[in-house]
């Protein structure tokens, strides 16, 4: 059997705090098969983004192993290891260099890896994410949030990675743009042999895009369930039930409408 695309074993990450180390992720293990879209959900501060950053090699793991297709990954990585894994960040306003045009942002990864034919690749990359070619020489401040996120996605895909890390890629966008970007991910997933790891606090987004979902709470993995089970509400762990309940809407405890979504007043 082939090794999983990404395997995390007993991963721990801790940060330096004023009163000694603060552990953000504790003893986490999961594996993502090639071609799968795997989701990680949890509330703010549950360590889900830290897991992604540890896999990406942006933060050091304090314990455990990360393996990509059987190959152990540390903090220092080769160019090939880097290009096999790309990331889309949460805030499209912070993930693009403010002084680089779209063209320059897409040029940079090709220049780093000395890839030939940048002209053709940039045109295709922009077309792949439905970006108007007329925007090619604009600066980020001349683009909308959705357009910026498309540039960030194009930049991540231009190196043809095997694994795409998505850190809440839609949470900074407004609802209509969110839907567009989610549909874009669906299309990308169906047209490329791509394994994705999606971190979100939005259960609807995760259930929409992922086949399997891991639920995290306070730095530990609570349970892993299929998206199907999540949609049917078949969670085993009480925390997952709390998350599910929270995603259905707010309700007032003891009110006559308990159990009903709060109607807008």
């Amino acid at each position: 059997m082939n090794p999983p695309m990404i395997a995390v074993q007993n991963l721990s990450v801790s940060f330096k705090g004023p009163h000694g180390p603060v552990s953000a992720v504790r003893d986490l293990s999961f594996a993502v098969e090639p071609g799968e879209t795997f989701g990680i959900v949890g509330e703010s501060g549950s360590g889900k983004s830290t897991v992604l950053r540890a896999i990406a090699g942006l933060v050091a793991a304090s314990g455990g192993h990360i393996r990509m297709a059987g190959e152990a990954l540390g903090l220092r990585r080769t160019k090939a290891q880097r290009s096999a894994m790309q990331m889309v960040f949460q805030d499209p306003y912070a993930s693009l260099h403010p002084r680089h045009t779209v063209d320059r942002a897409l040029q940079e990864p090709l220049a780093i890896h000395a890839i030939a034919e940048p002209e053709r690749l940039i045109t295709t990359a922009m077309a792949d994410v439905d970006l108007d070619p007329a925007l090619r020489f604009r600066y980020p401040h001349q683009l909308s949030g959705g357009q910026r996120q498309r540039v960030a996605i194009a930049r991540a895909l231009i190196l043809s990675p095997k694994l795409l890390l998505l850190d809440e890629p839609t949470s900074a966008l407004d609802v209509s743009v969110q839907a567009e970007v989610l549909n874009l991910f669906q299309t990308i997933r169906s047209t490329r042999a791509l394994t994705s790891l999606l971190v979100s606090h939005d259960l609807a987004v995760v259930a929409h895009l992922c086949e399997r979902v891991a639920v995290m709470q306070r730095g530990t993995l609570v349970e892993v369930l299929t998206a199907e089970a999540l949609r049917r509400g078949e969670a085993r762990h009480p925390y997952t039930h709390t998350l599910l309940a929270a995603s259905r809407g707010y309700r007032r405890v003891g009110s006559p409408h308990e159990g009903m979504p709060l109607a807008p007043s």
Partner: protein, 308 residues
């Protein structure tokens, strides 16, 4: 949304709307420059400062033409200490040299010092600062302590030491000023870098597999440039004054080379009766320093992305 390339001609630069879709990288840069130029156009004081600096550069370049061939070092002991008049616009000094010619030629010394200090200070400060800020840890601590040590040197005293060890001269004066002028730039660049280093757009370049030097030179340094240039322009007044001070003490340009600080010093003995000998070069120092200050202030507003 779409635009015709003919609309972006240089003659229409000031009328160019910034949100048109540029058709190439160079056009995108032109549009950006046009936005900055428009901002400059709204600040008359900055234009004044810029104009004085441009005049300074022209004076240095075209000194022989501007003085009509009058030599700044030709002595005329029979016509010494002449008051300003038609023959000598700014009068003559104690050796009968034309002060107008000496003031115009003095721009060369001033400009040389300013340019040399800038050329030394900016790269050194940027390199030390960005490297310390981006690398962090031990290297950061070592580089910043070295910076602190240089920051503790008083530039005039260091210049005196240099003059004693290597002999007085304009090059030694520049080295002495540059050695004590770079630490604030390193600190500025380090602070900017520290705030840039952990942004997502730098993380994205790390994930692309870029080397540390590529990230520093192509992604971080350009973002530090504008604040460093502003700081340099604001510091220019201080650098010119220090250079003039060194000249006054006889540690800068050596006679007979015309240098404003040294010219003030030679007029010291006659300042009560022949005021123009010291006043004219003093005014030149004052005007140029003020112009650099105004320009620096204006540039800060122009480069500030928050101002419209």
């Amino acid at each position: 949304m779409t635009s015709l390339p003919t609309q972006n001609r240089v003659d229409g630069l000031l009328a160019l709307p910034p949100t048109q879709n540029p058709l190439s990288s160079s056009q995108a840069r032109w549009n950006h420059a046009a936005v900055l130029t428009r901002k400059l156009g709204r600040s008359p004081l900055t234009i004044l400062g810029l104009a004085v600096v441009v005049i300074l550069v022209l004076m240095a370049l075209l000194a022989p033409a501007m003085t009509g061939g009058v030599s700044p070092i030709a002595q005329d002991l029979s016509g010494r200490l002449q008051p300003p008049g038609a023959a000598h616009w700014f009068g003559t000094d104690e050796l009968g040299r034309d002060i107008f010619a000496r003031t115009v030629y003095g721009a060369r010394a001033t400009l040389a010092i300013v340019a040399l200090v800038g050329v030394i200070v900016v790269p050194v400060g940027l390199l030390v600062g960005t490297l310390a800020g981006y690398t962090g840890g031990f290297l950061d601590a070592v580089l910043m302590r070295i910076t602190d040590i240089f920051l503790a040197f008083p530039s005039l005293v260091l210049a005196l030491a240099f003059a004693a060890a290597l002999g007085p001269g304009i090059v030694n004066a520049v080295i002495a000023i540059a050695l004590t002028a770079w630490p604030p730039y390193a600190r500025l660049a380090r602070a900017e870098t520290a705030s840039i280093a952990h942004t997502d757009f730098i993380a994205a370049v790390v994930l692309m597999g870029a080397s540390k030097w590529r990230i520093l030179l192509r992604h971080i340094v350009p973002l530090c440039m504008s604040s460093v240039i502003i700081r340099l322009t604001l510091d220019m007044a201080g650098i010119i004054l220090t250079a003039a001070g060194l000249g006054f003490l006889g540690l800068g340009a050596q006679p007979p080379t015309p240098e404003w600080g040294a010219m003030v010093a030679t007029g010291r003995s006659v300042v009560l009766d022949q005021w123009w000998v010291s006043t004219i070069p003093g005014l030149a120092i004052f005007v140029v320093s003020l112009a650099f200050n105004i320009l620096g202030d204006g540039l800060r507003d122009i480069f500030d992305p928050k101002s419209a």
